[in-house]
């Protein structure tokens, strides 16, 4: 094969320059479509309220001001409270659910466990058929006492059949049976095998599932809408939703309003404060997500492709 022929063939290995340019353009447009809205909320949160009522939302803060943030931190109680609730729920929920799921996935990944099919079916069946939202809610309130209880925000998401399957696939494809066999011969108990061998080996898969669980807990508003009435127990997304439908939550505990009572010109920064709340809620995720993304891609990819 001549050298010229070889380069010809190599050339066939990539798209043309023109195609490359067009593709880059398309991807760039879409990528900005994904990021830009967040910049807008950032800009709005720093915009003067009066400018907002005149010019509307835009990508550049007119009359730059941090008043919205001052306002929010003056009603710190409610926001900090929601933050703490979200944190507790996310941390406790993620740890617990990952533990429950990782444990459940282990026996059903074991070829030598007789009831693996039964327990797999027991779990899969919940994916096929459900009692429905209403019945789940009634059982949750009446029998599980999830109402106005942090458990109500954690418990319903503890098991996700799909994620358990990801974990099981991960165990099966990354951990050779012989490893477990030999550990057993050495006299290690099942729990020790699980925590000392399986867990570290399956870490990428577990990390991916942990991330999914974390996102679910951090972003959830639905469970709060069903079970939480007490403002003290509202997680961040639900507080955000409440602020959308009602200004009441912005007003309570705010000392700013009090000091300016009677002065009709100094009104509360309701629009910019709402956007500032979005920034506060999204901030931690937007800052940390590139870090998570690495693990996520790794774990999920292995689970998906090898499966």
């Amino acid at each position: 094969m001549s050298a010229q022929n070889q380069t010809e063939i190599n050339k066939l290995g990539r798209v043309s320059r023109k195609s490359n340019f067009v593709m880059n353009l398309i991807l760039l447009v879409y990528a900005s479509f994904c990021i830009v809205p967040l910049f807008m909320s950032l800009a709005v949160s720093f915009t003067d309220e009066k400018m907002l009522t005149i010019h509307g939302y835009s990508f550049w803060p007119r009359n730059f001001t941090t008043y919205a943030y001052q306002f929010i931190f003056s009603m710190a109680n409610q926001v900090v409270n929601a933050y703490v609730v979200s944190m507790i729920v996310t941390v406790a929920g993620t740890i617990l659910s990952v533990l429950v799921m990782a444990l459940y996935a282990f026996p059903i990944s074991r070829k030598d466990f007789k009831y693996k099919n039964f327990f797999t079916f027991y779990m899969i069946f919940t994916m096929l058929f459900s009692g429905g939202m209403v019945s789940t809610y009634l059982i949750g309130v009446n029998l599980l006492h999830l109402k106005d209880n942090l458990w109500g925000l954690i418990f319903p998401y503890l098991m996700n059949a799909f994620w358990v399957i990801i974990l099981r696939t991960f165990y099966r494809s990354n951990i050779p049976d012989s490893l477990i066999e030999s550990a057993k011969i050495d006299g290690a108990g099942e729990f020790r095998i699980f925590f000392q061998m399986i867990f570290p080996l399956a870490l990428p898969g577990i990390a991916a599932v942990a991330l999914l669980a974390m996102l679910q807990y951090w972003n959830d508003w639905f469970l709060a809408a069903l079970y939480i009435n007490n403002p003290q127990l509202m997680p961040l997304p639900y507080l955000l939703y409440q602020i959308q439908v009602s200004m009441q939550f912005l007003l309570q505990n705010s000392s700013n309003i009090g000091s300016q009572a009677g002065d009709i010109l100094s009104r509360m920064p309701s629009e910019s404060a709402r956007m500032a709340m979005v920034v506060i809620a999204v901030g931690p995720i937007a800052l940390t997500f590139p870090f998570f993304q690495k693990y996520f891609t790794k774990g999920l990819t292995v689970g998906a492709i090898k499966g």
Binding site: F121, Y122, L138, V141, L226, N229, Q248, N253, A261, I264
Partner: protein, 488 residues
């Protein structure tokens, strides 16, 4: 299938494990009370503790737990799910406009207290105007205790006083809704960010049409409020409804009504408190503006624009019911008896703790503590008429102390609707009413808030016909005729 059998065995096993777990025993009984107001107050715990201590001193072995939800849809939605879920609680606010009395009774949610009331809360029964007791009966039974307050209502335009003063509007000259227009124009031009006319879903201005609607607020079957001919009709097909829609739609297009009015179904007080509202339609009674000013912390002035009318609607306008899920109805009733007759307890729950949430400036007159406002004082549920007995309440500073005399005059001057005392049994047309409610919430809200073009009224009427409104109207007419015949 073997798997199914095994699941069954496992379920049984777990079920057996679970049944052994729920044993409860608590010392004093906790009375849980849901009501509507300015939302849960930061200092509610203090008031609960003080009230618990007091009722124990009075011989009730109980503690009190208060839960307040905000105006608009919030209280409604919350109570629907709370009642639907069968959660145990003891007392809830119910009325003709929020947490609907008739609907809940029809579903069997409330306890029949006809006999218990006579036995355990006789004083709170005796102090009521007799029409309260009969008008709130359904098939001759009582399911709730009405608050002792006015028996009639009217409608008014409620203005934020600061704006009225600033532009020197002559509000007393206003006789109809249309007279507002020049003022709205001024506010729209000179006060960017202020809502000239607040007209949101559940609190919309179409209420000034003042029909009598025994089925409820989300159904267009209506009677004229003097109910002379006692004929049920579809309010959407009337001339005055069309005219009203045309007016508000014009305002909507001019920007006097905010563009998202139709989608604002919740809390409206937030905007008022934030001083972002110029005016809105409110229900009227003597001193309504003073009461609202104290509750919202923003001075208001009212202009009455309809005549006072007394309907069933007003008698069931504010009541406390005991749900079937209540574990100790006798205790709940005994508590309500004390609450309705004891001046200290009543004012404690209405206004909070003396010195902290209010200061006494005369015998019966109170004021916000110096340096505080309604917003940051810590306890201001803001609705004395929600609770029990208004006649033993303190007055706010600046409130007219002749209020109760004015109430009496107002009641006497009111026109008693011929249908007063009639209540509708929704059961035979339950499905149709639910369908109509869907149509109402989708299309009528847009019309009455001004968002939709009045040209679409015939389409909406057709949608109601498809949802079975004719059947509902016929049923209501039938029940009404039967009720009239029986009355005679």
């Amino acid at each position: 299938m073997k798997n199914i059998k095994r699941i069954a065995v496992l379920l049984l096993l777990v079920g057996v494990l679970l049944t052994g777990t729920s044993v409860f025993a608590a010392a004093p009984y906790e009375i849980k009370w849901y009501f509507i107001g300015n939302g849960q107050q930061p200092d509610v715990k203090l008031v609960e503790d003080a009230a618990s201590k007091y009722i124990q001193k009075k011989g009730l072995k109980a503690t009190l737990k208060l839960q307040c939800y905000t105006w608009g849809d919030d209280y409604n939605n919350r109570m629907r799910t709370i009642i639907a879920s069968g959660e145990p609680f003891d007392i809830c606010f119910t009325s003709s406009w929020a947490n609907l009395y008739t609907v809940n009774v029809a579903r069997g949610a409330f306890l029949d207290i006809t006999d218990l009331w006579k036995k355990y809360a006789p004083k709170s029964r005796a102090q009521l105007h007799p029409s309260f007791i009969t008008a709130t009966q359904i098939n001759g039974r009582n399911y709730a205790i009405p608050a002792n307050k006015e028996v009639a209502h009217a409608w008014c335009i409620m203005f934020t006083k600061d704006f009225v003063d600033k532009y020197k509007f002559d509000i007393q000259s206003i006789k109809t809704l249309a007279d507002l227009e020049p003022m709205l124009k001024v506010i729209r031009e000179k006060e960017p960010g202020v809502i000239p006319f607040q007209n949101i879903g559940g609190e919309n201005a179409s209420r000034i049409l003042d029909y009598d609607r025994p089925i409820g607020d989300q159904n267009p079957a209506a009677l004229y409020n003097d109910s002379k001919d006692m004929k049920v009709f579809n309010m959407l097909e009337t001339k005055e409804f069309k005219e009203y829609c045309e007016l508000v739609h014009k305002w909507y297009k001019a920007g006097y009504i905010p563009a998202d009015a139709a989608n604002m179904t919740n809390d409206f007080v937030g905007d008022i408190k934030a001083r972002k509202v110029f005016c809105k339609i409110e229900s009227y009674k003597p001193c309504a503006d003073e009461e609202r000013s104290a509750s919202w912390g923003v001075p208001q002035v009212a202009v009455q624009i309809t005549k006072p009318v007394a309907q069933t609607y007003d008698c069931i306008g504010s009541m406390q019911a005991i749900p079937k899920s209540c574990k100790n109805p006798v205790m709940a009733l005994k508590f309500l008896e004390l609450f309705n007759t004891d001046k200290y307890l009543n004012n404690l729950i209405n206004f909070g703790i003396e010195g902290r949430h209010y200061v006494k400036i005369a015998n019966n007159v109170i004021d916000t503590p110096p340096g505080k406002t309604a917003e940051n004082v810590g306890y201001r549920p803001g609705a004395p008429w929600v609770f029990g007995n208004q006649y033993i309440n303190y007055f706010w500073k600046g409130e007219n102390q002749k209020k109760w005399e004015l109430f009496k005059k107002f009641n006497d001057s009111s026109l008693a609707a011929k249908s007063q005392g009639f209540s509708f049994d929704a059961e035979p047309v339950r499905n149709e009413i639910a369908s109509c409610q869907n149509v109402w919430n989708t299309y009528v809200i847009a019309l009455v808030t001004g968002a939709a073009d009045p040209k679409t009224i015939p389409d909406v009427v057709a949608k109601f016909k498809a949802a079975g409104l004719d059947k509902v109207i016929a049923e209501e007419q039938k029940q009404l005729d039967a009720w009239l015949a029986k009355k005679k």
